[in-house]
Amino acid sequence: MKHFSNRYIFIFSAIMVVIVAALLSLAATLLQPAQERNLEIEKKKSMLESIRIPATRENTVELYSKYIKESFVLNSKGEVVEGTDPFTVVLRGEQKKPLEQQALPVFRAVNDEGEPLIILPVEGKGLWGPINGYVSLRKDMNTIYGVTFDHKGETPGLGAEINTTPFESMFHDKKLYDDQEFVSIKVLKGGADPNDIHGVDAISGGTITSKGLEKMLFDCIVKYDDYLLKNRN
């Protein structure tokens, strides 16, 4: 084995780091537009899935403009705030602000039967990282029409089950309110009674993700309380 001086080792490491840094920043810059487009499609696709419209990557943009009619941002009192694009609102950033300053996006859609729906984004914490999703409500602003969830790195087969159809379809037709009182949806360990209008089954082996999901639904949707009560019909 050849002997290398300390000087050589330092120079070698410095050059290596500079080359690697240049290479990675070049790749990141070149690929960024394609990656951002993918994220946008992904977001639209999730919203469509929450109103039970299965979309593929190819037809997402087209279906999105067909079904999503309107979008706006509310404040915590349920009043429309002008000047913010709801599509670009980052919920995680909003959640760090005081409640009065948070922007709450609402998307309005109409399904194939002509029923008006609203879509609310939700975001919270799972076991290993953030979880997020969209909840769509029927025109009574109480009954869940559909949901879609996603996660960054929950355990495959356990917590990651939240983004599968069997889990998501349990939310269909569940109710958020008991008369005027907001109770949200409970994710129950050991299984929920099928007649329970506020309960769904938790995931076996995914307790912390299930609890995180329950908290996410409550914390995010309760902020729309005023708006939902006002717009019931």
Partner: protein
């Protein structure tokens, strides 16, 4: 030196570098490396194929890079250099998947990052590329990536067929009408322990066919 340079590109020795990891020196079943990811990404065939391809590319290219630099790499920081090379390539693979194969990159999620810690990579760099020229190292990388991929694909094929009743998403079991006579998908196959059992079965079959592989 000059003798070696005259060696044909696909000499018997080089061919062996490429084929040995497929069978007698398989990284998963014989060297028992890379088991973690083999359990994690084999529920469906598609992520398994992509994972196999990504690992093959990363191990082959990093083998070449390290082999080319081997006489310039100071011995004292060689592990760091190896890690930097692997990490750079993995990040590149990850970025490219995010840009051009978004669904796949979502499915693989954390496992792409975990290629960095895949023992096959460090194992091949340290055991082979540090002591060999770029071309044999490239073949060694390809061979080991393919050997890893072969087992991944076999396991994923069995798990997807029995667990979900599909092959690459195509509903095979439904098409042959087996559900109507009472057949049901085996949910167990989707869970990680079954991957371990399938790998175990492959090891068993391989060793019973080739007695020389059985340890004394």
């Amino acid at each position: 030196m000059s003798d070696q340079e005259k060696e044909p590109l696909f000499s018997a020795k080089n061919i062996k570098l490429l084929t040995a990891p497929l069978d007698k020196n398989n990284p998963i079943t014989i060297q028992v490396l890379g088991i973690c990811s083999a359990l994690a990404v084999t529920v469906k065939l598609k992520p398994a194929l992509v994972m196999a391809l990504s690992v093959t590319i990363v191990v082959a290219v990093s083998n070449v890079v390290i082999a080319a630099l081997r006489s310039y790499i100071p011995d004292r920081i060689r592990i760091i250099v190896q890690l930097v090379v692997i990490a750079t390539l993995v990040i590149l693979v990850d970025q490219i998947l995010k840009a051009y194969a978004f669904d796949v990159s979502k499915q693989l999620s954390v496992f792409v990052g975990l290629i960095i810690t895949n023992c096959i990579l460090m194992g091949r760099l340290e055991a082979f590329a540090m002591a060999n020229k770029p071309w044999p190292s490239f073949l060694d990388g390809l061979g080991n990536g393919a050997g890893y991929g072969l087992i991944l694909v076999i396991v994923a094929f069995i798990r997807e067929l029995l667990g979900s009743g599909t092959i690459l998403g195509y509903p095979v079991m439904e098409k042959i009408g087996i559900y109507s006579i009472g057949y049901e998908n085996n949910g167990m196959m989707i869970l990680p322990p079954m991957a371990l059992i399938v790998v175990g079965l492959i090891i068993w079959v391989q060793r019973s066919r080739d007695k020389s592989l059985i340890e004394k």
